[in-house]
């Protein structure tokens, strides 16, 4: 098996508020290889976004290790960490984080331009990514001229653009209808099939089911992991008819 893109081991994140300690995440382990898509489920407040933020170097664990493409994130300088975040990680935030003053195509091309890609090429890539998520014709609109689902797809295009090896998506299907949501899952799967590693946070079991593994979090602890059953007979409704 090829070297993992993401390795979390014993990752704990505590928030201190006076005397009170909130354990957002406790001793989480997770390894994701190229080609794999892992889903994370759990009740609100169970630590899903915390796990994703830490995996993407946007938050620092209180204890434990985080390796992205073999680099231990907590040991990197701020500049090196910023470079990993821009080059290796594609992130779809729970609250989208689109820049209101930029059009869709500018939002998508910005991280590439920041990374030194020339404007013309970055915009061509951005248009291709917007086409991929099915909203190529909206490239020149501003976020407030688009529906929630369309904005969501801009955020997804921004995460897909470039050669990011690690895709982290926090509720990327939230504002999408069921067929569009499924298209997003197909896209994520296709990117993983092409060699990326993906982690997807979702409340929808139907969407989590596209993953190779599903992690269940409860109160910051990984309580279980499920993979697909083998043997199609077990899928049939009891009785088989009549």
């Amino acid at each position: 098996m090829s070297a993992p893109v993401l390795e979390l081991s014993g990752v704990t994140r505590e928030h201190r508020q006076g005397d009170l300690v909130v354990h957002a995440l406790r001793g989480a382990d997770l390894t994701v290889a190229p080609g794999e898509l892992v889903a994370v489920m759990g009740a609100s407040g169970s630590g899903k976004s915390t796990l994703l933020h830490i995996a993407g170097g946007l938050d620092t664990p209180t204890a434990g290790q985080v390796l992205v493409e073999g680099q231990e994130l907590t040991r990197l300088s701020a500049a090196a960490l910023a470079a990993v975040r821009r080059r290796s990680v594609g992130y779809v935030f729970q609250d989208l984080n689109l820049i209101p003053a930029l059009t869709a195509v500018e939002n998508v091309s910005l991280p590439r331009e920041l990374d030194g890609v020339r404007g013309r090429q970055a915009r061509a890539e951005a248009r291709a990514a917007l086409d991929e998520v099915g909203i190529g014709e909206l490239a020149d609109r501003f976020p407030d001229e688009m529906s929630g689902g369309q904005q969501q797809r801009v955020a997804i295009a921004r995460a897909l653009v470039g050669e990011r090896r690690l895709l982290l998506a926090d509720e990327p299907t939230g504002a999408l209808d069921s067929t569009t949501g499924e298209e997003v899952l197909r896209l994520l799967r296709a990117r993983c099939a092409a060699g990326a590693a993906g982690v997807l946070v979702t409340h929808e079991a139907r969407h989590a089911a596209w993953a190779d593994r599903v992690l269940f979090l409860r109160d910051g602890v990984v309580v279980d992991t499920s993979g697909p059953v083998t043997g199609a007979e077990s899928l049939l409704p009891a009785g088989g008819g009549a």
Binding site: V214, T230, L236, G241
Partner: protein, 201 residues
């Protein structure tokens, strides 16, 4: 699922033998509800008895050269098919009642880790959901009929998981309301009673 109505609907397309019907049924439902040929013939016998199908071909109903009897749908059978398509399917959740009963027993039996019971079921149902999704992506991509049948199983499994999430949240909230569980839980007080009292204020 009614085999009777399924076979009638297939015969609406034209006369068929039992073997052909079974194959047609499998391909229409993506082999999600496999039938054995015995079930097909038993059902055809009953349909014939009820006047909804008739033997096709030789007037004396004798088999063809290979010993097979073909059936065709009657006018009464056609009416039955129309009625079937025109009426909703009853929400008879029989196979999953066992789960509801199991959870009801789990919350009232001392010493049972209800959250673990919920999680075990959730992982199992998620595994099923993952496999259904794989089938859909790999095998039913170009087959609209089958992929819709798979979708129906997908949505059903999803509903079960949502219900389990709901159970977990209810159980957690109930536990938070009674932080100290009395050790003598042999006669579990029905949770509704104190809540009801509190509700009256």
């Amino acid at each position: 699922m009614s085999i009777r109505h399924g076979l009638l609907a297939l015969l609406e397309r034209g006369p068929s033998h039992g073997y052909q019907l079974r194959a047609q049924f499998d391909s229409a439902t993506g082999a999600t509800w496999p039938l054995n040929v015995g079930q097909v013939y038993t059902t055809l016998d009953r349909l014939e008895r009820d006047g909804l199908v008739a033997q096709d071909g030789a007037p004396d109903g004798s088999p063809d050269g290979e010993g097979r009897i073909a059936y065709r749908i009657t006018d009464a059978g056609r009416a039955e098919v129309r009625t079937w398509f025109g009426s909703p399917v009853g929400s008879r959740a029989a196979p999953r009642d066992e789960l509801a009963i199991k959870l009801a027993l789990a919350v009232t039996t001392p010493g049972v880790d209800v959250l673990a019971v919920v999680q075990t079921q959730r992982s199992a149902t998620m595994s099923t959901l993952q496999e259904l999704t794989r089938l859909k992506v790999r095998e039913a991509a170009d087959d609209l009929a089958w992929s819709l049948v798979l979708d129906s199983l997908v949505f059903r499994a999803e509903a079960e998981i949502r219900w389990l999430d709901h159970c977990e949240a209810r159980v957690a909230r109930a536990a938070a309301r009674r932080p100290t569980v009395p050790p003598a839980a042999a006669t579990p007080a029905p949770e509704a009673a104190p809540a009801g009292k509190r509700g009256r204020r």
